[in-house]
């Protein structure tokens, strides 16, 4: 980071002159070159004709290319999410009228399982861009985007709403311009929340990406070349070697992402903490240190970002100083807003009307099918959660109470949780079919795979944060084992357990879409459930049922969230909060 640009030295003095600094900069230069090559080849691929029958090659040498394709999708979706997040969050935080609409909408969108849109979105995008590979790609990116954007937006919005009053007043009294306020106050204030939520979003993005890449609907093969389709093809062919290679590549990519991208960003984000005193333990990253010490980066920064920021801010300030607020402009803007609002409401009403007409076309039997599916999926998801809780609570508490053990177990659980469960579906399915089970049992195993890790590492975190003095109280008063569980361990881990369950519940609903309808070995495996109803309806082009089932699923999840999880959350935040 350039803190203090050096004044007016000749450019050459700023460039690295000795060998050691050149060596230090080498990895960075190479990384830049390879990035350029990657972008070029991706562009060529995307603008090519549609790949009707994608050939997925199974030799390990093809893996880097597939990993790159997957990564590129994730990155593009993330970029899109970031832009939407900043715009949506800014409008919601600054415009009271927009806030009243945007925030409830955000809250609902956040809890809808995105994968229920997978079948219709993929089909729709392909028909939009029939001749280009771009269509399927856009579908995948759009889905990942809808999966990751909402929690990021929410974190940015709530950060902006909670900027301390005195900081805002300082900005006001010193007449900071719009731009200066954004760059020096608002963006930094939201940074930490944004970084953590970005991390979570991208992890979730892998989950959706894997599902998208291996998506086959009936006899329409919409697979995309990538890690997901590689794993699926390998499982399909029963090629154990390829499966292992694929899983290895997957884990490698995730671990590398963590080390090269997230760790440095988190360590860098430390400076945006609103703390009064410096924390004794701060996250640090060797990669960040490398970047910070690199002269090349410093020079590039001083030559580009520094002056650009200065010029932009000064431009903003001067414009702000010379302009005088005019009443008429405000009025005009109000008119435009009103007109746009009116048009939007009319459009919305029309859409609702059309939707109702379409829903009217659902036959009684289909309706019964939807509700039966909803019931089955609901039971399956909740059963999975109970199952996950049953083994993770005792194990998690056991580990969490032993600091040395949890130091080993915590990172393992974290890595396990970060492997997208959807990537493992074909492998588990392969195994299940060999054993002789159907998708009925299989889907529960699949769901469990996606949910248990969240719960486990949250329980470990909860148990290890139980204060020592409370444990000593149990010791002093000789509480029996069952009393300790009832009085301390369970209440102590409750808030953490809940966080784990809420995340897991969302994940399980999403996974249920993929887990209930899976094309494998040229054969479609299904079981009763809402996910299966949605996929089948998309396949047969039955739009009324597709619409109905999607609405039911969204409504179900939102209702459960509101009625169950949010109330429990309130309880956890008040009664079971362990304050030190």
């Amino acid at each position: 980071m350039a803190r203090q640009p050096l004044p007016h030295l000749s450019n050459w003095n700023l460039l690295p002159s000795n060998v050691s600094s050149l060596l230090r900069d080498l990895p960075i230069i190479l990384a830049g070159l390879s990035l350029f090559y990657g972008v070029l080849s991706l562009t060529r691929y995307w603008t090519g004709p549609v790949n009707t029958q994608p050939e997925i090659q199974l030799h390990p040498g093809a893996l880097p290319v597939y990993a790159m394709y997957s990564l590129a999708r994730i990155m593009l979706a993330y970029l899109l999410s970031l832009i939407v997040t900043l715009v949506y969050g800014y409008v919601a935080a600054h415009n009271a009228r927009a806030e009243r609409i945007l925030i409830p909408l955000l809250d609902t969108l956040q809890s809808i399982p995105v994968l229920s849109f997978l079948p219709p979105v993929m089909v729709a995008m392909v028909s939009l861009f029939p001749t280009r590979q771009l269509g399927v790609e856009m579908g995948a990116i759009l889905l990942i985007f809808t999966g990751q954007v909402w929690n990021m937006t929410f974190s940015v919005y709530s950060a902006w709403k909670s900027i301390p009053r005195e900081l805002q007043e300082a900005a006001q009294i010193y007449q900071l311009t719009w731009w200066q306020r954004f760059i020096q106050l608002e963006l930094p204030y939201a940074a930490i929340g944004l970084v953590w939520n970005s991390m979570m979003s991208v992890a979730g993005g892998w989950f959706f990406l894997m599902a998208c890449e291996m998506f086959v609907l009936g006899n329409r093969d919409l697979r995309l070349p990538g890690l997901g389709s590689y794993l699926q093809t390998a499982a399909n062919a029963g090629d154990t070697g390829a499966i292992l290679w694929g899983v290895f590549a997957m884990v490698l990519v995730i671990v590398l992402m963590d080390q090269i991208v997230w760790r440095p960003i988190i360590a860098w984000g430390e400076k945006f903490k609103m703390e009064q005193v410096e924390a004794s333990q701060t996250p640090h990253s060797p990669v960040l240190n490398l970047l910070r010490r690199s002269r090349a980066i410093q020079v590039a920064f001083q030559k580009t970002v520094g002056p650009a920021r200065e010029a932009l801010t000064l431009y903003g300030a001067r414009k702000h100083l010379s302009s005088h607020p005019v009443g008429g402009k405000h009025k005009l803007r109000q008119w435009i807003g009103l007109t746009l609002g009116a048009i939007a409401s009319v459009g919305l009403l029309y859409a609702i009307f059309k939707m109702l007409v379409m829903l009217g076309a659902i036959s009684g039997e289909e309706l019964r099918g939807i509700f039966a599916g909803a019931g089955a999926s609901f039971l399956r998801v909740e059963f999975t959660l109970v199952l996950a809780g049953l083994w993770t609570i005792p194990v998690g508490v056991y580990i969490g109470l032993r600091p040395r053990l949890s130091a080993i177990a915590q990172p393992i659980a974290q890595v396990a949780a970060s492997i997208p469960a959807t990537a493992l579906f074909p492998i588990v399915l392969l195994f299940l079919i060999r054993v002789g089970g159907g998708l009925g049992v299989g889907s529960i195993v699949l769901l469990l795979l996606g949910t248990q890790w969240y719960v486990l590492f949250n329980v470990i975190a909860g148990a290890s944060s139980i204060p020592t003095d409370l444990k000593e109280v149990c010791e002093v008063y000789r509480l029996t084992k069952s009393e300790r569980w009832r009085r301390l361990y369970l209440p102590g881990v409750f808030p953490y357990l809940l966080t784990g369950f809420v995340t897991a519940s969302g994940g399980a609903w999403n996974a249920s879409i993929v887990a209930e309808y899976f094309r494998f070995h040229g054969q479609t495996y299904t079981t009763t459930g809402l996910g299966a109803v949605i996929s089948r309806a998309t396949d047969s082009g039955n739009f009324p049922v597709l619409l109905g089932a999607t609405i039911v699923m969204a409504a179900l999840v939102v209702t459960v969230n509101r009625l169950l999880w949010r109330r429990l959350y309130g309880l956890a935040a008040t009664k079971y909060k362990l304050e030190s």
Binding site: R3, L167, Q172, Y174, L176, K273
Partner: protein, 574 residues
């Protein structure tokens, strides 16, 4: 009274024509004379006072506020001082002496006894005639500013009553008031951060949005951007003014040098101590060269020593004219701080906020915390703040004010017991500022407790003293169980809210009620956060006095019944 005569008197005074002025002063009513006299700058008041004949001086002294009279008296030699006090009317003299706090009274007595009484003295050698500088017009003028908060049901709650206030150049003005009295809101309206609900704020005679006011604020929480270095923080307002990099840098470094922070330019705020952080806040404010520097409790987040150090440095900068600021507007709840720094003090009353007193502090800097004059002012402000009936201004005539709902001070039952014990140990009566000093408490923390013990009838506050009542004495000497009974009796006979709660609960067959009901009742009288505080205090007192119990899960209160505890306990078990 004769207005033309008063105008002539004013003219004579402003020309520095003392002899004529003295002659004219003697012709008008002493009360009017005292008013006109006090309008002058204090150094001129002293010059004039020194030249007054003793008899007339004695008349005038009786018409001054006692704290002002005391300070003016000391501008004459001790023997003349004694002579003037001797010549006062006996009733005036007794009243004057009685109002003085203990130390000051003692000091005065010592002086009076030591000095021989002078006969009529010849007027001392005439001081050079200094014509008074024409009074500069105020920088900020608030006219009938008022703040109301709209309630959802359409009614509005007044937090600041219509207030006139002006900030004149060349002085430090301190705004004092108990917590929740709206000091900060008033500061925000004067600085342009917040809009008054009614009335207007003028900057050099123009409405705020038409003028280009140049102000800065030093905040209680420092309000520094933690992600910017010290230097970048100071540069923030300069950047907003579109200054180029080099100019900005230079100004910021200069501001940092003024507050003694060179060498810390590249530090981040979290690396600094609280005092250092506030220095950065000062530097940031000084960098924009504000005409008025607003300070919102700038020292209250700091420890005692650091705060004292910073106060002295601020005074040094101000007196040495090393800051480009024309005037300082300081909001504080620390009485000593106000008397130490301010040239003029405004005391705010609460609910709604209104000016209760506005007076000058004519003591020379540096001020000695232990001097009789200093204590005189501290004591006077305590008196003002502890006696609601000691209203300075006339109450707004015309529209009838509906009777106020009794407002509970936000004090815990435990601290009231502590205060009573202390009072009892000290013989049952003491000066309030002594108590505050002993407990190392600021007025903000002490006042609610003091209000609580007076409200409960355990003590009486009068003229800056607090005295324990027989009930209070009994309470202080009782054991734990007996205290609860005494508290219960006192609370039920004095506290309206608790009486109402009890009556309502007794009338219900199951003796329980949702707390929401009482919140709604209070909402009609108080703002939301105040309602919350009222409820909290009532619950704390009610629970301590075994009057009621409260279940937070169901948000219900119920009548306290000793055996009910067991039932509730069993119910929770199953």
């Amino acid at each position: 009274m004769n207005p033309p005569r008063v105008d002539k008197l004013r003219a004579a005074l402003s020309e520095g024509n003392w002899d004529r002025a003295i002659a004219m002063l003697q012709k008008v009513d002493p009360a009017v004379a005292a008013d006109v006299f006090q309008e002058m700058p204090f150094d001129q008041q002293q010059i004039l006072f020194r030249r007054l004949p003793l008899d007339f001086a004695a008349q005038l002294v009786a018409a001054f506020p006692y704290y002002h009279a005391y300070v003016l008296l000391h501008s004459r030699p001790v023997e003349e001082l004694t002579a003037i006090v001797e010549r006062m009317q006996p009733t005036d003299r007794i009243q004057f002496i009685e109002q003085l706090p203990e130390e000051t009274w003692q000091h005065l007595m010592d002086e009076l006894h030591a000095a021989p009484i002078a006969a009529e003295v010849e007027v001392p050698a005439p001081a050079p005639v200094v014509p008074a500088a024409p009074a500069e017009e105020p920088i900020i003028q608030a006219r009938r500013v008022e703040k109301r908060f709209q309630r959802p049901d359409g009614a509005s709650i007044q937090v600041i009553a219509p207030t006139d206030l002006s900030v004149d150049p060349g002085m430090i003005l301190a705004l004092l008031g108990p917590s929740g009295s709206g000091k900060s809101t008033l500061l925000r309206m004067l600085s342009g951060l917040a809009q008054p609900t009614a009335g207007e704020v003028l900057w050099r005679g123009k409405p705020f949005h038409e003028a280009t006011p140049n102000v800065a604020i030093v905040f209680q929480s420092f309000a520094l951007f933690p992600w910017l270095t010290v230097l970048e923080n100071v540069e923030v307002p300069l950047l907003a003014r579109g200054q180029e990099h080099s100019e900005r840098h230079q100004r910021a470094i200069q501001a940092l040098a003024t507050v003694g922070l060179t060498g810390f330019e590249n530090a981040y705020p979290k690396e600094l101590s609280g005092g250092m952080k506030q220095r950065v806040g000062f530097a940031r404010a000084l960098a924009v060269e504000p005409e008025i520097l607003f300070m919102d409790e700038p020292f209250s987040a700091l420890d005692v020593l650091t705060a004292e150090n910073l106060r002295n440095e601020l005074l040094e900068l101000w007196q040495g004219k090393r800051m480009p600021t024309k005037s300082i507007f300081l909001v504080t709840h620390n009485i000593e701080e106000a008397v130490l720094l301010a040239d003029r003090i405004i005391v705010l009353g609460r609910n709604p906020a209104k000016i209760r007193a506005d007076f000058r502090v004519p003591l020379t800097q540096p001020r000695d915390r232990n001097s009789a004059e200093f204590l005189l002012y501290v004591d006077y402000i305590y008196k003002l703040m502890t006696q609601p009936e000691l209203e300075a201004g006339p109450s707004p005539a015309g529209r009838e004010v509906k009777p106020r709902y009794q407002m509970l001070p936000h004090a815990r039952s435990g601290s009231t017991a502590g205060l009573l014990e202390l009072l009892n140990d000290r013989g049952g009566k003491d000066d309030i500022y002594h108590v505050a000093d002993e407990l190392q408490m600021e007025v903000d923390d002490l006042l609610p407790i003091l209000e609580a013990v007076t409200l409960l009838g355990f003590a009486k506050a009068d003229k800056g003293d607090v005295e324990i009542t027989p009930e209070g004495k009994a309470f202080a000497e009782a054991d734990i169980v007996a205290r609860k009974h005494l508290f219960r009796d006192a609370a039920l006979s004095h506290i309206t809210l608790l009486q109402q709660m009890r009556k309502a609960l007794e009338s219900k067959s199951d003796h329980r009620m949702p707390l929401e009901f009482f919140r709604d009742v209070l909402d009609e009288h108080f703002s939301d956060p105040e309602t919350q505080r009222q409820i909290e205090t009532a619950l704390n007192w009610g629970r301590y006095g075994d009057i009621l119990s409260y279940q937070s899960e169901s948000d219900e209160i119920s009548l306290f019944e000793p055996h009910a505890l067991d039932i509730a306990h069993e119910a929770r078990e199953h």
